[in-house]
Amino acid sequence: MEFTNEILVKLYTQMVRVRKLDEKMIECLFAGKLRTFFHSGQGQEAPGVALCAHLNDDDIVFYNHRSHGLNKCLPKGMPAKQILAEHFGRATGGGNGFAGFHYADLNLGLPGMGGMVAGELTLAAGAGIACQLRGKGQVVVSCFGDGATGRGPLHEGMLMAAAWKLPVIWFCENNLYAQWTRVNVTHPKEDLADFAQGYGIPAAIVDGQDVMAVYEAVAPAVERARSGKGPTFLEMKTYRFRPHAEGFPDFSVQTEGGVRPPTETEEWMKRDPIRLFKNTLMEKGVLTQDDVERIDKEADQEMADAECFSAESPWPDPKDFDKALYAD
């Protein structure tokens, strides 16, 4: 696949933005500024960024719990300040302050997120029905982690999408852990993409630490959905660098000391998707040291501005409860 310099720089810049916002979340959480929890997605920047680089505004992404969807929502176009302000509980947040840790903007193809793992997966199939009936080539992406494959909605949704050739991409980020449970404790097979076989859905397994590999894998899936040929299942092999939830030790069931094996984490951290890609781009001469520093600095400034914006934004008004509950 041909990569223009423009797309390479875009992928890199978006990954840096996602990482910087994730770091800002943690900083603000420990400074007592967030009114909710946070589940860092550091290490998993590449899948969402590469995915969204293929999508139009009217393509629909049902994002998932890890990192509270940062790695999809930010590159899909939701401003960092709206994401952060929501966690600050402010009226300017992407959920008008009602959500805490998720957001919606239908103009950006972001219908929102719930609190149940896998809860969005049947919704994605339905958005696929709407897009199929509308006939304008829109694509729906159903994002989930390895944990969601334990729940029925994935299987009901995939069955429906396969039977009716719905334009849905089943986008699995397998980071090996469902909260504190390693996938081998609960699943008989290593590759979750194998689930797709039973539904006759074509599948690919992708190195989720390599943003270019993800970008290449997403392209045919998007093309297939747009042209009405039906769903694809993509499994990213990836890893989160931090504990399930901030403020907790790096717990893991059925492992020594009840934590994730430090050697495993160390091995994966050698494959930081941002550092790997930075090295590639500098070797190729696409980025200079100055470019790298400038991109860092701009992202730092963006996140600092987002924090000021969030802190200065008004609280939402409970008088708005009724109009939020029912549409007129």
């Binding site: 049947t122 339905g126 009901e156 039977a163 509950l325 549409a327």
Partner: protein, 339 residues
């Protein structure tokens, strides 16, 4: 006025709304050939893209409808039995109900879940329930519960046009019941109760199938005891027309809620408490509930000892009006199931 069946009224509402709005579609198990006879002519007219026969996947039937609604369509999600809704509990009670509020009102979810309710057919614990309290305790849903063909058509058309998720509780026992339905198109607003029978001595708030049963008991009471019963059908539980109910209770000084759902935490508990909070000083007797007993609905012969019976209504009226000898129904009002 012409007479048509309840299931034909539901069918007409879907035909009219699907013609009117191309974003309306129907999805469910065997929905093109509905077990209750509501689907005549739909697939012939609208095709398999808009009349979608799904797998036995209730979570996906309801959940996909939420997703399609978010993406700008107006699905009608059909459950073969209302009981099956709980297989899609997350999709119904969390996604459909909470999603708009949980995103600060930034999205709308226009969908209808058509859910055939009700017992008296001896078909046991998981095919006979009325699901009102399962859904009513969840803010974010609207609930319609039509008791005759006219209301079924008008309420379903309103439900389909509503920009919110509506649970439409259509009673299985009413499917083959005929009633007057105008040829001209009409809708019935939500939150507007209907006084099915005017009376002066006691108010009965009744829902669904038990509206007609209550009316028959009320007629006997009038004839044989001279007791004048006012029968109010709320038609929608959410929104609830409390105003009409309270005005009636203030007039009659007595209130009974007749509902087929389980008594504990059922509609009678909610409506009864609202009467207590808002009209206590007008009451001459405690509010009385007639509802299913707090057991799973037993099958076959034993069902009658769980579900409310016509005699229970007569007994409640006697209690509230201070009559020591309840009217003996003596089998003159019966309940009739579909099987």
């Amino acid at each position: 006025m012409r007479q048509i069946l309840y299931n034909a009224a539901i069918n007409e509402a879907m035909h009219e709304e699907m013609e009117r709005d191309e974003t309306v579609y129907l999805i469910g198990e065997e929905c093109s050939q509905c077990a209750w006879g509501t689907s005549n002519g739909l697939i012939q007219k609208f095709g398999a893209q808009r009349i979608r026969d799904s797998a036995i996947s209730e979570a996906a039937i309801i959940g996909s409808s939420v997703g399609a609604a978010l993406a700008g369509y107006r699905p009608i999600s059909y459950m073969m039995f209302a009981d099956f809704m709980m297989c899609g509990a997350d999709e119904l009670l969390y996604k459909a109900a909470k999603w708009r509020f949980a995103h600060g009102g930034k999205v709308k979810i226009p969908l209808v879940i058509r859910a055939p309710i009700g017992g008296y057919s001896g078909i046991g614990a998981e095919h006979s329930q009325c699901m009102e309290s399962w859904v009513w305790r969840t803010p974010g849903l609207k609930i319609a519960i039509p008791s005759n063909p006219h209301d079924a058509k008008g309420l379903l058309k309103t439900a389909i046009r509503d920009d919110n998720p509506v649970v439409f509780l259509e009673h299985k026992n009413l499917m083959g019941i005929e009633g007057p339905v105008p040829e001209e198109t009409y809708t019935i607003p939500f939150g507007k109760a209907d006084i099915k029978r005017e009376g002066t001595d006691v108010t009965i708030v009744a829902t669904g199938y038990l509206v007609s049963v209550t009316l028959q008991v009320a007629n006997l009471l009038q004839e044989e005891k001279g007791v004048s019963v006012e029968v109010i059908d709320p038609r929608t539980l959410e929104p609830l027309d409390l105003e009409t109910i309270l005005a009636s209770v203030k007039k009659t000084k007595g209130a009974i809620i007749v509902d087929e759902d389980t008594m504990r935490c059922g509609p009678g508990a909610e409506i009864g408490m609202q009467i207590m909070e808002n009209a206590f000083d007008y009451l001459d007797a405690p509010v009385k509930r007639v509802a299913a007993k707090n057991y799973p609905i037993a099958g076959a012969y034993l069902e009658q000892f769980v579900l409310p019976q016509p005699q229970d209504i007569a007994n409640a009226v006697a209690e509230v009006t201070g009559d020591s000898e309840p009217l003996d129904i003596a089998g003159r009002v019966t309940t009739k199931g579909v099987f």
